[in-house]
Amino acid sequence: MNQKELDPQHSTIEVEDPDQFKAMMIGASVIFVMAFIPFATLACCLPQVAGALVAVHLFTSQYSLTLSNGKAIKLAILTCLMGAIASWVVAMGLYLGFDYQVGARESEWVSLTLAEKLGGEKAVEQTKLALEQQKADGLSLKNIVIGFVASTVFACLSGLIGGSIGAAVFKRGEAKS
């Protein structure tokens, strides 16, 4: 082995973990706010991926670091979990307390508009039936549990996607070892 490679002066510097909390909080706030924008539900997992990207971008900018894929994914998953769980809890509170479902009216409007444009009268009738069925089903304890589990799992997956993209796109200097 080359002598230079064993020389501590030439080794990659081991640094203490910089504080990720601020970046995580801002990213989670982005997810939280976007969850309550009425038409944001039409963007699927994009708000959560965006929040994860914000967190990775802020962290790498603040400390002038390039994160490895694993570290970026870990940061992004934690950010998405924080944002998704917070927004889920507040959304449930609004639904149970005030019978208000975030984005439901807008989603219904989009469904009916698309059905009218693409499928005609028959499609509109089918969509109306499906929406009425959804309302009749209501919100049971089983649905609440499933909703929470699904939110958690898909937050992790969105974090994985956002962290992978963030690690590839945001390179701000020396790699964090």
């Binding site: 230079k4 490679e5 030439h10 990659t12 539900t41 490895s68 694993g70 989009v110 969105s158 070892s177």
Partner: protein, 180 residues
């Protein structure tokens, strides 16, 4: 496979096991989601549709359908997860641990972004096959970063970590003195 530098020390990056496990795990996970979304059309009154309601708009007109019932996720999500599943399995199983292609990721992001935006501006431009192609490409491109990342997360505490080609950036970040 050649030699790599981890933490300033030269090591042989010939241990493919973590990448294989991570690839299989992610491939199976995303494949399972694809399967569940198909099942949600087969069993439209089950809880499966509710499972996806938090992560997808579930507009029937923008989703694949089976037997007259729409899948639990839209076309974009379906093919994104399909790309992630296929890509993860591929990157996990191939023994050639190359640098991920950043241009593929940027290309995938651009195509998906333009397709998504154009769909809002002029719905006629949001062509069915472009949605499939862009999402599949993006999913595959993301998987090439997700698999080594997951391998790093799963195996970073093991003693064999130093022998793994996880951190592609380590080579880039090493001091210039090591290159001589």
């Amino acid at each position: 496979m050649g030699e790599g530098v981890q933490g300033g020390l030269t090591v042989k990056d010939n241990n493919h096991f973590p990448q294989l496990i991570a690839g299989m795990l992610l491939g199976t996970l995303f494949g399972f989601i694809v399967m569940l979304s198909i099942l949600s059309a087969w069993m439209p009154h089950s809880v499966l549709n509710h499972l996806f309601s938090n992560v997808c708009h579930q507009q029937a007109e923008r989703s694949h359908s089976f037997g007259g019932h729409a899948f639990g996720i839209c076309i974009r999500c379906f093919w994104l997860y399909m790309g992630l599943s296929v890509g993860s399995l591929w990157h996990g199983c191939t023994t050639n641990a190359r640098q991920p292609s950043k241009s593929l990721l940027i290309g995938g992001l651009l195509i998906a972004g333009i397709s998504w935006l154009s769909g809002w501006i002029l719905p006629a431009l949001d062509w069915f096959y472009i949605r499939i192609f862009s999402s599949l490409t993006l999913g595959y491109a993301i998987s090439q970063y997700a698999v080594p990342g997951m391998a790093e997360l799963l195996f970073s505490n093991t003693a064999s970590n130093k022998n793994l080609p996880f951190n592609h950036e380590s080579k880039r970040a090493r001091p210039a003195a090591l290159d001589h």
